[in-house]
C-alpha cells in the first residue's frame, strides 16, 4: 500500500476507468490526478505514477458499474468527464469507489432490488441518495454540462456556404459537442453541416450519410472553411432574422436583466441576432 500518490493518465474516458482499475488492483491511495497533456514540472512531481490506458481493463470496470447501477450512472459520469473541470478526475474516482462500496453493502442492495432505478419520486437507487456529497456533486456537475449541451442546441447558428455546406463555430464551456451530434443528425438529414469547436480544435462534419470527426488543418478558427464564400442568400436571411428579432420585442415590457439571464453575454458571439 502506497499512501497519497500522484497519478497521471492520458485524459481519455477509457483512461479514467483504467486508472480506476489500477487503483483497485494496487490499492493505491490517490491524492492527485494529472492529465499527461497538462505540463507538469517534473521536479515537483518526483513520485508520479503513470497509468497506460487499456480498453479491456476500463471496460471491465464500466461493465460492472452498468450491471449494478444502470446506464444512467455511466451517462452521469460521462457528463462529469466532459465537464473537464479540474476536480472532475478525482470526483470520478471517488464516485466509482463510493458506488462499488455501496454495491457490496447488503442494506443498499436491499433498497435497489425491486425498486426503480430511474428518476422518479421514491425511486430507490443509490444514485438518488442526494444526502451524500459525492452523489450530489456528480449530479450537479452533470446538470451544468447538460445545461451547456442544451444551450448549444439552442444557440448554434448555421451559415450557408456557396457549396451548400451549413457551418457553425462554437467554443462551449464544457466539451459538449459529442453530446449534441445526434440531435443535429436527426434534425438536419438533408443538408451537409459542420459544427466546429474552435476551443478544442475538432469538429463534427455531416456529409448526408455519416458524421465524421474532423480537425481543420490550419487549426486557426477554421480559416480553411471561412475561405469558401457565402451562399448568395446568406446575407439576406441573416438580415431577415435580425429584423425579426427586433420586431418581436415589446418595448413596454423591456427587461434586459431577464434577457441577459436567459442569454448570458458569453453566448452572444454565436448569435446572428446579437451581432
Amino acid at each position: 500500500m502506497r499512501a497519497g500518490i500522484i497519478v497521471t493518465y492520458d485524459g481519455s474516458w477509457l483512461g479514467v476507468f483504467t486508472l480506476v482499475f489500477q487503483v483497485y488492483a494496487h490499492r493505491w491511495d490517490v491524492k492527485e490526478i494529472v492529465k499527461s497533456s497538462e505540463k507538469v514540472q517534473a521536479q515537483l512531481f518526483a513520485d508520479i505514477t503513470t497509468v497506460i490506458t487499456d480498453e479491456q481493463l476500463a471496460n471491465r470496470v464500466l461493465k460492472s458499474l452498468r450491471e449494478s447501477f444502470g446506464n444512467e450512472l455511466i451517462q452521469e459520469l460521462y457528463y462529469v468527464f466532459l465537464s473537464e473541470l479540474p476536480e472532475a478526475d478525482l470526483l470520478l474516482l471517488k464516485a466509482v469507489q463510493f458506488y462499488f462500496a455501496k454495491a457490496k453493502d447488503p442494506n443498499y442492495q436491499k433498497n435497489i432490488k425491486g425498486s426503480n432505478l430511474r428518476t422518479q419520486a421514491g425511486g430507490g437507487g443509490v444514485r438518488h441518495n442526494y444526502a451524500e456529497d459525492t452523489v450530489l456533486q456528480v449530479q450537479q456537475i452533470g446538470r451544468s454540462v447538460s445545461r451547456e449541451r442544451h444551450r448549444m442546441k439552442a444557440f448554434i447558428r448555421f451559415e450557408k456556404m456557396n457549396d451548400g455546406l451549413y457551418v457553425a463555430f462554437i467554443a462551449p464551456d464544457f466539451n459538449v459537442l459529442p453530446l449534441i451530434i445526434k440531435h443535429f443528425r436527426d434534425r438536419y438529414t438533408d443538408q451537409c453541416w459542420l459544427i466546429y469547436d474552435v476551443k478544442r480544435n475538432f469538429g463534427a462534419y455531416y456529409n448526408l450519410h455519416t458524421v465524421e470527426e474532423i480537425i481543420l488543418e490550419d487549426g486557426d478558427q477554421g480559416q480553411a472553411v471561412r475561405a469558401i464564400s457565402w451562399d448568395a442568400e446568406e446575407a439576406l436571411y441573416s438580415d431577415l432574422w435580425k429584423r425579426y428579432f427586433r420586431a418581436v420585442n415589446i418595448k413596454e415590457r423591456k427587461n434586459m436583466k431577464l434577457h441577459i439571464q436567459e442569454v448570458p453575454r458569453r453566448y452572444w458571439k454565436y448569435l446572428t441576432e446579437k451581432k
Binding site: T189, N255, K257
Partner: protein
C-alpha cells in the same frame, strides 16, 4: 424584392408579437425519409429583450382585417401600415430560418381578410406545402379562424402540430364590449370541433396504427389580462373550465399592452400588468403540476391574487393549520405544497429520505429555499419556532428576508416558488 420582404416581415412579426404562445413542445414528429426537421425538443433559440422565449417564427399572414376588436393593433379602424405575405414567402422564410437553426418551426396567424374560410384556406396551404413539398417535420402551430368550415379545420389538424383559438377576453360581457364582431360561441364551436377530432383520431390510432396524426400537440388558447376589468377569479375559473372541457394543453395569459385611445380600455401609458400575469402563470402551474384546485387559490372571499407574494405562499399562509409538514414522513403531494420546495427538490427529498433521516443541512444541499420553507416544515433536529405566529408575521419575515426577490420581481419570469 428583398427590401419589400424585409418590410413585410417587420410589419407582420410586429403585429403577431402580442400572441404570447411560443411553445414548440408536446409533439413528437420524427424526421421521415431523410427530410428536414423534427419536433419534441421544444428549444428556445433566443429570448427577446423582454425575456420571452423565441422558439417559432411567429408571424401573421396578413394584418388586413375586416373586424374591429378594440384591444388589437390589427383592427380595421387602426391607421397602420398593412402588408400580406404570399404563401410561398412564408414557406421560404420558414425553411431558411429552420435550416440555420434559428427556429423550431412556424406559428402562423392572420387577420381576417375577405372571410374566415378564405383566410383559413391560405393558412392551411402554407402548412400543407411545408409538409408535402419540403418534407418539413418541424413544428407548425396554426391559429384557427373562428367561423372557418369544419373541412378546413380538419385539414389544418392533419398538417399542424398545434391549433389554437384565442378566447382573448376572459368574460363574455367583456368580449361583447370590446369585440362586437365576435361571440364566445363562435370561439367555442371550433374548440369543440377540435377537441372531438383529437379524441376521435387518438382512439382510432389505437386500433389502426396508420391513422394520420391530428394536431398531436393539441390545442391552446390565450386570454388578454387587464383589458376588461375582470378579476383573477374570473380568469382562473375560465382557465380551469377550458382546461377541463376542451382538454386544452395550455392557456396563455397576455398582459394587455395599451395600444389605443379608446375609453373602453386602459389608456396609453398604463403599465403592462406583468406581475399579475406572472402570478397567473404561477397559479396555472399550481393547478397543472402541483395538484391545486382553482378555488383553493382564488374564491369568493379571496378573488384577487396577491401581487407581493406568490400564490403558493399565499395559500400556505391562509392554511397554516396544515403545517408544519414533516419532511421525512409526509406524502409527496403534501411536500409539494410547502413554499420553497419545487417539483425537482420534492422528488429528491422523497428519494433521499429512504437512506437517511433528512435535516436542514440536507435540504439546503438539495436546493430547497430553506429561508422560506423553514416556517412550514419539521425535519431531523428541526422544529419551526414561528409556526404558531400569525400569518401576517410570517409573511413579513419572509418578505424582509427576500426583499430583493419580491419587490423587484422580474415580470413574466417563471421562477416558480
Amino acid at each position: 424584392m428583398s427590401d419589400r420582404i424585409k418590410e413585410k416581415l417587420e410589419i407582420l412579426a410586429d403585429a403577431a408579437k402580442y400572441d404570447v404562445s411560443c411553445s414548440s413542445s408536446g409533439s413528437n414528429r420524427k424526421n421521415k425519409n431523410g427530410g428536414l426537421g423534427n419536433t419534441g425538443a421544444g428549444i428556445c433559440h433566443t429570448y427577446t429583450e423582454d425575456g420571452r422565449c423565441v422558439s417559432l417564427l411567429k408571424i401573421l399572414l396578413t394584418n388586413h382585417c375586416i373586424y374591429d376588436c378594440a384591444y388589437c393593433v390589427t383592427r380595421k379602424s387602426n391607421d397602420i401600415k398593412r402588408a400580406a405575405f404570399t404563401v410561398q414567402e412564408v414557406v421560404d422564410l420558414t425553411i431558411n430560418f429552420y435550416r440555420r437553426n434559428y427556429i423550431e418551426g412556424l406559428f402562423l396567424s392572420s387577420g381576417i381578410f375577405k372571410n374566415a374560410d378564405y383566410t383559413m384556406e391560405r393558412l392551411v396551404l402554407v402548412a400543407k406545402k411545408l409538409r408535402q413539398e419540403h418534407n418539413f417535420n418541424g413544428y407548425i402551430h396554426l391559429k384557427t379562424i373562428p367561423g372557418a368550415s369544419d373541412e378546413l379545420m380538419h385539414e389544418a389538424g392533419l398538417w399542424a402540430d398545434r391549433l389554437s383559438v384565442n378566447l382573448e377576453i376572459p368574460t363574455e360581457e367583456g368580449l361583447k364590449l370590446l369585440a362586437p364582431d365576435k361571440t364566445r360561441a363562435s370561439m367555442i364551436q371550433p374548440m369543440d370541433y377540435l377537441k372531438n377530432e383529437i379524441i376521435r383520431t387518438s382512439e382510432e390510432k389505437k386500433i389502426i396504427r396508420s391513422t394520420p396524426k391530428f394536431a398531436p400537440a393539441g390545442q391552446s388558447t390565450q386570454m388578454i389580462i387587464g383589458a376588461s376589468g375582470e378579476t383573477d377569479q374570473h380568469i382562473i375559473k375560465t382557465a380551469q373550465y377550458f382546461y377541463k372541457n376542451f382538454q386544452l394543453k395550455r392557456v396563455y395569459y397576455s398582459g394587455y399592452v395599451p395600444i389605443s385611445m379608446d375609453s373602453r380600455l386602459p389608456s396609453i401609458g398604463t403599465a403592462v400588468p406583468t406581475v399579475r400575469e406572472n402570478r397567473l402563470y404561477q397559479t396555472d402551474w399550481l393547478m397543472r403540476f402541483y395538484g391545486f384546485k382553482a378555488n383553493e387559490i382564488v374564491n369568493d372571499s379571496h378573488p384577487t391574487l396577491d401581487l407581493d407574494i406568490d400564490p403558493k405562499l399565499g395559500w400556505a399562509l391562509r392554511n397554516l393549520h396544515v403545517f408544519p409538514i414533516d419532511i421525512n414522513r409526509a406524502d409527496y403531494a403534501l411536500i409539494l405544497r410547502i413554499p420553497g420546495i419545487g417539483v425537482s427538490s420534492a422528488k429528491k427529498l422523497v428519494a433521499a429520505r429512504k437512506f437517511t433521516a433528512l435535516g436542514l443541512e440536507h435540504l439546503k444541499k438539495i436546493g430547497v429555499a430553506v429561508n422560506r420553507a423553514k416556517y412550514f416544515i419539521s425535519c431531523r433536529g428541526y422544529l419551526p419556532t414561528v409556526s404558531d405566529k400569525p400569518a401576517e408575521r410570517i409573511k413579513s419575515y419572509i418578505l424582509a428576508e427576500s426583499a430583493s426577490k419580491y419587490l423587484k420581481v422580474a415580470p413574466n419570469q417563471l421562477s416558480l416558488f
